[in-house]
Structures are given as structure tokens and as C-alpha cells.
């Protein structure tokens, strides 16, 4: 059986021009669906293709994905409500980040989006109170390892993850959007100050700060895992709100370069295209490293970005110390 030559561009093109999927053969559909699942974008694809006359087997599968995303939305919003109730007594509003924010505000980026953990932002000087409030409401520690715990508290932009003992859902409590060890320090207080209320006690970042956060997460922190989905968020936010004032806001947070790159790459994948520089092509190569079975491909490109993510996160001496401790700990693969 012939292997279809394909990568993440198959998914990007389907999202950009849904009508073109009607030309796919069965193997093409199988590859598109496997890729979308692997990138956690099957719900997004399902909403994007809704109403097209796709083959019946595909229509059924996409209907399942929409139902699943709708249920995911219910669960995510309920989790946000649970956090709001836990934090109301201490007077700290829940500022939602990422997926939950998109669905809470009914944004285009939230349509069909898969949502894992609940990510919230709180003022750094209230973080102890927030932690205590959450623990008394049933959340518990996930990471028992003292090194990890200490690492999170000293150097990360969030508490070690907490998981709710009854609902089995994780919450990430952030006090800023990049690790404290990163070379860039965004204006965390400004993020909170400019946040917008969506309902009493529940807020989301301003539209420009949502874009800044997406770009920071992608290019100044992680190894680009989930990057296709994050850039779809960027594409949708720009499509819905435009970029008025974005460059100034990004510069204010020290993330002008990252935001500009996010705009170029999201336009290249999902929009009208953009003038790309050589590094952009390398990023795209990493972002679309996925085959028609949903497998990760291009291991050396991936490794390069993985190393880069650690380089960005911490100064060299600290990185060496960190990797040494992790390696000695038996390399269990849960490197922070």
C-alpha cells in the first residue's frame, strides 16, 4: 500500500480552505483525521468543515468530534466556575487563560478547541492565599518530588500543578506568563490590570494580551509542541479582533519579536501568507512535523527546538545543574 506523502500542511490547508478537502481520497481523509487528532485539533477541524458535503463516514466522525468538543466546553466552564467559587471568599477574581478563556468569551478560537488543564492568572502577592483556598476546596499536589516542587516555586511562572481529588482535573495557577528564569520579563501586573470581565468574578486577558500570551508561550517558552493549535488561536484572535495596538502592547511586554513571528507564521499556515525569513521556515518545518499516521516526524528538528526551549528558559549554569539533577533522578521523562 502506498504511503501518502504528507505532513502538518495537510491540516493547515484544510483549515485555511475547507472546501479543498472535498478533493481528498480515502487515504487523504485518513491522514487528515489522524493528523488533526495528533495535534488535538480534530474538534476545530470538525467545526471548520461543518456543512460541507464530506463522505458520510467522515461526516459521522466529525459530528462525534463536535459533540466531544461541546462536552469538553461544558467541563472546562464548570471547572472555571469551581475555581471562581473557591477564590471568591478571598476576593481574587479568576483570570482565565488560553482555551477556557476562549470558550468563556465565546471567541472563534474556542470553537471546537480541545481544553486540557484550567489555566488561571493571579497576582503574585496573593498566590499563597490562592493556593490555600484551592487546597481547602479539594485540589491536591500532583508532583511529590521535592526538587520539582522547589523548582516550580523558585523559578517557574506558576505553582506546581494541582489536581482536584474528585473531578480529576488539573489547574495551573500562573502569576505571570513566562518562567522567572527567562530573559524576558512581561508586565504581569499589566496583564491583570487590562483584563476584561466576562461575568462576575471571571475575567479574561485583553485581546492584545491574549495574543501576547499565545506568542510568549510558543516562542519564548516551550518546544513548539501543540504549535499548530496555538497558531490557530493566534489566527482566530487576529481574524476576530485585528491587530490595532498590538505591536505597542507586545513591545511593552518585551515580546515584540515573538508576536511578530506568531503573526507571520499563523498567516503562513492559515491565512493569506506572509513574508518569511529563513528562521521562520525552520519553525514551520518543526510545526508541521507530523505524518499521516499522526506520528511525530523530523526528530532532529524536534530535538533542536527542545534544546532551544531549555536554553531560553534558564541561564547556562542553571541549565546544566537542572539537567544534571534530572538525569540523576532517573530520567523519568517529566523534565520541567
Amino acid at each position: 500500500m502506498a504511503r501518502p506523502v504528507t505532513d502538518g500542511w495537510l491540516l493547515a490547508r484544510a483549515l485555511r480552505t475547507p472546501g479543498n478537502t472535498l478533493a481528498l481520497d480515502p487515504a487523504g481523509w485518513a491522514a487528515l483525521i489522524a493528523t488533526a487528532r495528533a495535534e488535538q485539533m480534530i474538534g476545530t477541524l470538525a467545526y471548520r468543515l461543518e456543512g460541507l458535503r464530506v463522505p458520510q463516514a467522515v461526516a459521522r466522525l466529525l459530528a462525534d468530534a463536535r459533540a466531544s468538543a461541546a462536552q469538553g466546553r461544558v467541563v472546562a466552564l464548570w471547572e472555571a466556575e469551581a475555581a471562581r467559587r473557591a477564590m471568591a471568599p478571598i476576593g481574587v477574581p479568576v483570570v482565565l487563560l488560553k482555551g477556557t478563556a476562549f470558550v468563556a468569551a465565546d471567541l472563534k478560537a474556542g470553537q471546537g478547541r480541545s481544553i486540557g488543564d484550567l489555566d488561571i492568572l493571579v497576582p503574585r502577592d496573593r498566590i499563597d492565599a490562592v493556593e490555600a483556598a484551592l487546597i481547602s476546596a479539594g485540589w491536591e499536589w500532583v508532583k511529590p518530588d521535592p526538587y520539582d516542587d522547589d523548582y516550580y516555586r523558585r523559578w517557574m511562572h506558576e505553582l506546581p500543578p494541582l489536581i482536584h481529588r474528585e473531578r480529576d482535573r488539573m489547574i495551573d495557577v500562573h502569576h505571570t506568563i513566562l518562567p522567572l528564569t527567562a530573559r524576558i520579563t512581561p508586565d504581569a501586573a499589566g496583564l491583570l490590570a487590562w483584563s476584561v470581565e466576562v461575568e462576575p468574578g471571571v475575567r479574561i486577558l485583553s485581546r492584545n494580551d491574549m495574543l501576547v500570551h499565545a506568542a510568549a508561550h510558543l516562542f519564548a517558552d516551550g518546544d513548539l509542541a501543540g504549535g499548530m493549535r496555538n497558531l490557530w488561536d493566534v489566527y482566530c484572535l487576529v481574524d476576530q479582533f485585528g491587530t490595532n495596538g498590538l505591536a505597542e502592547r507586545a513591545a511593552h511586554h518585551g515580546l515584540g519579536r515573538e508576536v511578530a513571528r506568531a503573526l507571520r507564521l499563523s498567516a503562513a499556515l492559515y491565512g493569506q501568507g506572509a513574508r518569511l525569513n529563513p528562521a521562520d521556515h525552520l519553525y514551520l518545518r518543526r510545526l508541521t512535523a507530523r505524518d499521516g499516521w499522526g506520528r511525530a516526524t523530523r526528530p532532529f528538528t524536534r530535538l533542536g527546538f527542545y534544546v532551544r526551549s531549555h536554553w531560553l528558559r534558564m541561564p547556562p549554569a542553571m541549565l546544566v545543574r537542572h539537567l544534571w539533577t534530572k538525569w540523576r533522578g532517573g530520567h523519568r521523562g517529566d523534565i520541567v
Binding site: A30, A38, P55, Q56, V58, L61, Q71, W293, R295
Partner: protein, 286 residues
């Protein structure tokens, strides 16, 4: 992937890719009478692959991958590649299925009405289903009952019947003309041998059925039977479902409808002949 096999089991299409020929060849032979996925597009992918390139050849061991995976699945030796494929297919269903509420149960059908048998592993539900399938019932499946929230009907999922340990001999004696897969000794679940569902089960796999009786069989006790209240059935079936929580309100509604409209009994049985007689008697009295 290097070797590929596609198959449809009831309403669900699978595409199985493998680094090795052997498991694919076994599936082609055992699933020879099955159709391919609807429209050629599978619902789920399963991948059988070597953890490292050289493990394809040296002490080959099969990792199970797919659209949905558990983080710490252990590999199986290549001799158990068929089992790996079957486990991979079950795993996709258990973790990824969102169209049907999945109940860990065997199902047989007569006159358009379904008997659903569920219980702990070792309760004998696979064996009973296989035997009933040779005695005037249509086997709908031995692993999952697919309950459709939209219609309340049960859809067939007649994958290979997975016989374990003592059940292998029982089935070999009871179904002498059955098509069996290779004996797989020493798997994580003991000895396993697969039995191909008979022609009636395969030919009828697109016919859904109205659930008529839910049975909780238990092997190894004196014959007895007991009424099971809807509340208890509900709780036991939430535990027997792999996707009840993920299905949300649709799952709750489907299960509520099932337990409030379909009677349930628990039976204890000392041997399979006795169990078959108990089942027939209960069915007559419905």
C-alpha cells in the same frame, strides 16, 4: 507504515499499521470475511511499531500506538503481535469512542432483541456468548456493547472472540468447526486464543437490536438467580463503561433509558450447560 490492514467491525472502521508483516498476515486471514471501513475512511488508527529501529529485528517487541494511547503501555513480544493489534483496537474504542456509550459486555441477539451480559473478567461472558452463538442466537460481540444514545439500540461489534485460559478448551470442544487463531501462551492475561465469530455474526453485523435483558453472570457457584434493581444496574454499568464520564449528559440519558426500560437479572452458574438453560428460561419468561 510498512504493512497496513483495514477492517470494519460493526459500525467501526480501523486502520492497522505495522512494522512487521506477521501480525497483519494473521489479521488478514482471521478477518478475511469482514468488509473494509465505510467510504474507506477508518474511525481509528492502530500502530504496531518497534520502540527502536533495531528492535524491529533483534528481540522484536511490539509497541502499541494509535490515535489514543495510554502513557505507560508495555510492549509485547512479536509472537503476540495479533494480541497487540486487538488490544490496540480495544484501546482506541475505550479511550476514543464518543458516538456510542460503551458497555464492557458481550451481546447476543434473537428475533431482533438483544441479551446483554456483563460482569467481572472471568465471569464467563465471552464463553457464554460464543456458545449461544452456536445455539440459535446471533453473536453481536464479546467485548463491547455499543449503546446508541440517539435510538437506544445496541450495535454489534463482533471482533475476534478473546478466549482466556480454561475457556479455550471449553470453546474448542463446544465449537469444533470454529476458526481459531494461533494459541498465544504466556500473555499478560495468561493463555489466549481467538475465535472468529461465525458467518451469521459477520453477515448480520450491520443489524442493531433492541436491548431486552441485562444479565450479570457469575461462574463457579450453585445455580441461582436474582432480580437486580435499576439503581444497581445503573451503578454497575457506569463502572462497566469506559466512556460514561466522557459522554456527559448523552451518556447519562442513554444509560437511564436503558436501565429503566430493560429488566436485569444476576445469575450464578456451576457449568456452561446449566448457564445456557438458565438463559433460555429467563428469555422465555420475559
Amino acid at each position: 507504515m510498512r504493512h497496513v490492514f483495514s477492517v470494519r467491525i460493526g459500525p467501526i472502521g480501523f486502520r492497522i499499521g505495522s512494522d512487521w508483516r506477521a501480525p497483519i498476515a494473521q489479521m488478514e486471514s482471521l478477518y478475511t470475511d469482514y468488509p473494509g471501513p465505510h467510504d474507506g475512511v477508518p474511525d481509528f488508527n492502530v500502530r504496531l511499531f518497534a520502540a527502536r529501529p533495531w528492535r524491529r529485528v533483534i528481540r522484536p517487541s511490539v509497541m502499541i500506538g494509535g490515535d489514543f494511547v495510554l502513557p505507560e503501555a508495555a510492549p509485547l513480544p512479536l509472537a503476540q503481535g495479533l494480541l497487540a493489534a486487538e488490544m490496540g483496537m480495544n484501546l482506541q474504542m475505550a479511550l476514543g469512542q464518543r458516538r456510542y456509550l460503551l458497555l464492557h459486555a458481550s451481546v447476543v441477539e434473537r428475533d431482533g432483541r438483544a441479551l446483554v451480559m456483563t460482569g467481572m473478567s472471568g465471569a464467563g461472558k465471552s464463553t457464554l456468548a460464543a456458545l449461544l452463538g452456536t445455539r440459535g442466537w446471533r453473536l453481536m460481540g464479546d467485548e463491547f456493547a455499543l449503546l446508541d444514545p440517539a435510538t437506544g439500540l445496541i450495535h454489534a461489534f463482533p471482533r475476534l472472540i478473546s478466549l482466556k485460559n480454561a475457556a479455550i478448551g471449553v470453546a474448542e470442544a463446544a465449537v469444533p468447526d470454529g476458526v481459531f487463531g494461533p494459541l498465544l501462551p504466556g500473555t499478560p492475561k495468561g493463555d489466549i486464543r481467538h475465535l472468529v465469530p461465525n458467518a451469521a455474526a459477520i453477515a448480520g453485523m450491520d443489524r442493531a437490536a433492541d436491548p431486552a435483558l441485562i444479565l450479570f453472570p457469575r461462574f463457579g457457584f450453585e445455580a441461582a438467580e436474582r432480580y437486580v434493581a435499576p439503581s444497581e444496574v445503573f451503578v454497575r454499568l457506569t463502572q462497566a463503561s469506559t466512556n460514561y464520564v466522557a459522554m456527559g449528559e448523552r451518556g447519562f440519558d442513554a444509560l437511564t433509558r436503558l436501565v429503566t426500560t430493560v429488566p436485569a437479572r444476576a445469575i450464578d452458574y456451576p457449568d456452561t450447560d446449566r448457564a445456557l438453560a438458565q438463559v433460555e428460561a429467563l428469555w422465555r419468561d420475559l
